[in-house]
């Protein structure tokens, strides 16, 4: 009896048909959820897990005088590969603190995450032009300067920038420029300006040019070529810049912020609009030691990365300790020699490797510094510029 019921049940379920209407409904829902899942899951490929696992390397060192009890955890939200691992380990050993290091790929992602309600981070490292928005959004708080005595070591010309004129919210970290990376072994023509870069890219070296995937950096090229401010928002002038970019588009090999140094190394690309980060590594390798970095003569972007303390930081004492300690001259020296970016710390500059100091790509001389321009937050949000960027991206294929 029961067996026959079971057989009937089985037979019935095997014959069961989903009728078309309900299948379409299900497929539609599935499709919708899959689309959302595809879009959102794609965006999280850039956030990496913590890399500062505490293997306490005993430094047997002197401990800095604690200002209040230093917590046993510190959460840092930063660009990838931006703190020397030896410094992380040193701090962890000094204060018995575990540092969790999370990464973001660009400032917009950082801002988007904070706006989306992400919390639990103590310190973050945005580029200074995002300070106004972070202040307005209430994500960061004013720093207690009495707990950061090493601020006195900062180069005054780097302080008091337009984004935070009284230095209330940030501690400078590194600064630099956006410029041209070139393989001099192959590109023997003179290259000192954006105009020459454009001519070479659209001419002889077409198809071997890489640009970083960043609106603010790529737009510098056409605007400076035309002699305008890189924060230009006037629609007529932006239209001129658009024409230049669209002329360049067919000759661009890739829009890539992450692996452009690999393309330079394999000579798949010989010209690159990028940053100085990969320069040290490329120069160390004898095969690619001919790489040079040029700050174009028309002027270019000045960027400053800064430390900020988040308003809801759960570990304030550890945060302040880090903000001050990272600018101890020998610690800062290790930072500069690790990531190859210019330090604003005058005491550290005295002990930094003289080869780095003498390199105009990393520490630009005064006359070059005078031609640099910082980004304007209002320009970053400008609709016309964003539309221009979307149009440029569409026209690449």
């Amino acid at each position: 009896m029961a067996e026959r019921d079971l057989n009937d049940l089985l037979a019935r379920s095997m014959r069961a048909r989903v009728n078309r209407r309900s299948f379409l409904a299900a497929a539609g829902l599935m499709g919708g959820s899959a689309a959302l899942a595809a879009c959102t899951s794609g965006g999280t490929t850039t956030s990496a897990g913590p890399t500062g696992a505490a293997t306490a390397a005993p430094t047997g060192g002197a401990s800095a005088p604690p200002a209040g009890d230093i917590e046993s955890d510190l959460f840092i939200y930063n660009w990838s590969d931006y703190i020397a691992p030896e410094n992380i380990e040193a701090f962890e050993a000094l204060h018995n603190t575990t540092i969790t290091y999370d990464t973001f790929a660009n400032n917009e992602e950082l801002l988007a995450k904070l706006q989306g309600g992400a919390s639990g981070y103590d310190l973050a490292c945005p580029t200074a032009e995002f300070l106004p928005q972070m202040i307005e959004g209430g994500f960061i708080e004013k720093l207690d300067q009495s707990r950061i005595p090493n601020m006195s070591l900062m180069d005054p010309s780097i302080l008091n920038q337009k984004w935070d004129p009284n230095n209330e919210y940030h501690v400078p970290k590194d600064f630099g420029t956006t410029g041209i990376l070139v393989r001099k072994k192959i590109v023997t023509e003179p290259l000192t300006s954006w105009r020459e870069f454009f001519d070479l890219a659209t001419g002889k070296y077409s198809g071997k040019v890489v640009l970083v995937d960043s609106l603010g950096d790529v737009l510098v090229m056409p605007l400076k070529m035309l002699g305008y401010s890189l924060n230009e928002t006037d629609p007529a002038r932006l239209a001129e810049a658009r024409d230049i970019l669209l002329q360049l588009a067919p000759h661009v090999l890739a829009l890539d912020s992450d692996t452009y140094q690999d393309k330079l190394a394999t000579e798949e690309a010989v010209l690159c609009l990028g940053w100085t980060g990969p320069l040290l590594e490329l120069r160390d390798n004898p095969d690619t030691a001919d790489t040079e970095y040029i700050v174009p003569s028309e002027g270019t972007l000045f960027w400053l990365d800064v430390w900020v303390k988040l308003a809801d930081a759960p570990h304030p004492n550890a945060s302040y300790e880090w903000l001050n300690w990272i600018h101890e001259p020998d610690i800062q020296k290790a930072e500069t020699e690790y990531n190859g970016y210019a330090t604003p710390n005058t005491a550290a500059k005295e002990i930094v490797d003289p080869e780095l100091l003498a390199d105009p790509a990393i520490f630009p001389p005064e006359d070059v510094m005078a031609k640099l321009e910082g980004a304007d937050p209002a320009a970053t949000d400008n609709e016309d510029r964003i539309d221009l960027w979307a149009e440029f991206k569409s026209s690449l294929g």
């Binding site: 989903v18 299948f23 595809a38 394999t266 798949e268 979307a390």
Partner: protein
């Protein structure tokens, strides 16, 4: 409650059961229903609401009611067409590659069936992103592209940074999703039908076209949908294998949400994407099922 039934004992039992049965059914469905509502219906609703809004001052959503974002969707529709083109081509390619493979494993593999299916699954244990990066070497100038450059003497030939590279990457990534439904339907197919068809004089191709294909059609449909939908939303592969040059709807959404931080515009594009997929899949189902006697679609 239930009035005591006057007649047979089974009547009382039947009247009590529906109440309890529905309660138990309800309880069993509750986790799934909650999951669907919180993670699917509610977010979809939020996306639709956002699509009518406008960008907040520092990025995000500000309440408003305007069709401006949809106007922009219609104005700049190229990413939609690019995605549609690549996803359709990718689906067709996975079908062309997957069907013979599934057919072989289901009908000819014999003892090795299990091992072959396992080999199909093993790559899924590696991160998709890492596999995409490995394609950079295989298809790059020192790999396949270099080989073709030498063979055809064309130094400008490239695979990476073109739609072809993206197509190959997508096909590779989603091939197992196409193969599994096909494999299941092929395996369950009644082999005696083929014998009967041959007995009646049909050649191999005629048998395939008239007997096998209609039977495995549900598997083809399922596989196609499973593959088409993620391909439409793909953005990692265009970014890596397309060298950032292919601008698909996934890339446009990333630009809106992460760079421009214009959530309403991105939401409108997302709604557009969903609408486009619904239309495409409906048409696809209608096209494949027209002329069939049974108006039902049986899924597997």
């Amino acid at each position: 409650m239930t009035a005591p039934a006057a007649t047979a004992g089974t009547a009382t039992r039947n009247e009590g059961r529906p109440w309890k049965a529905t309660a138990v059914t309800g309880l069993l469905l509750l986790p799934a229903a909650l999951w669907y509502f919180l993670l699917l219906v509610a977010p979809l609703f939020i996306v639709v609401v956002f699509s009518f809004g406008e960008k907040a001052r520092n990025g995000g959503y500000a309440p408003a009611f305007s069709f401006e974002n949809y106007g922009e969707v219609l104005e700049r529709a190229e990413p939609f067409f690019a995605s549609l083109r690549l996803a359709s081509a990718g689906t067709l390619l996975t079908l062309l590659v997957g069907l013979p493979l599934a057919y072989f494993i289901a009908t000819r593999a014999g003892r090795h069936k299990g091992v072959l299916v396992l080999l199909l699954v093993v790559p899924f244990w590696t991160s998709f992103l890492i596999r995409a990066y490995s394609w950079l070497i295989t298809l790059g100038p020192r790999g396949a592209a270099g080989f073709f450059q030498d063979t055809f003497g064309d130094p400008a030939f490239r695979i990476l940074g073109t739609e072809l590279g993206v197509l190959i990457g997508m096909t590779y990534g989603y091939l197992p999703l196409m193969i599994f439904p096909l494999y299941v339907t092929l395996e369950r197919m009644d082999r005696t039908l083929i014998e009967a068809s041959k007995d009646l004089g049909a050649g191999r191709f005629a048998t395939f076209r008239q007997i096998t294909l209609p039977i495995i059609l549900p598997g083809v449909i399922t596989g196609s949908i499973l593959v088409f939908i993620p391909m439409m939303g793909e953005y990692v592969i265009p970014a890596i294998l397309g060298y950032g040059r292919t601008f698909l709807i996934g890339n446009a959404l990333v630009l809106d949400f992460l760079e421009a931080r214009n959530w309403p515009a991105g939401s409108a594009k997302a709604v557009g994407l969903i609408a486009l997929m619904l239309v495409t899949i409906t048409f696809y189902l209608w096209f494949l099922n027209r002329g069939r006697q049974t108006r039902d679609v049986s899924v597997l």
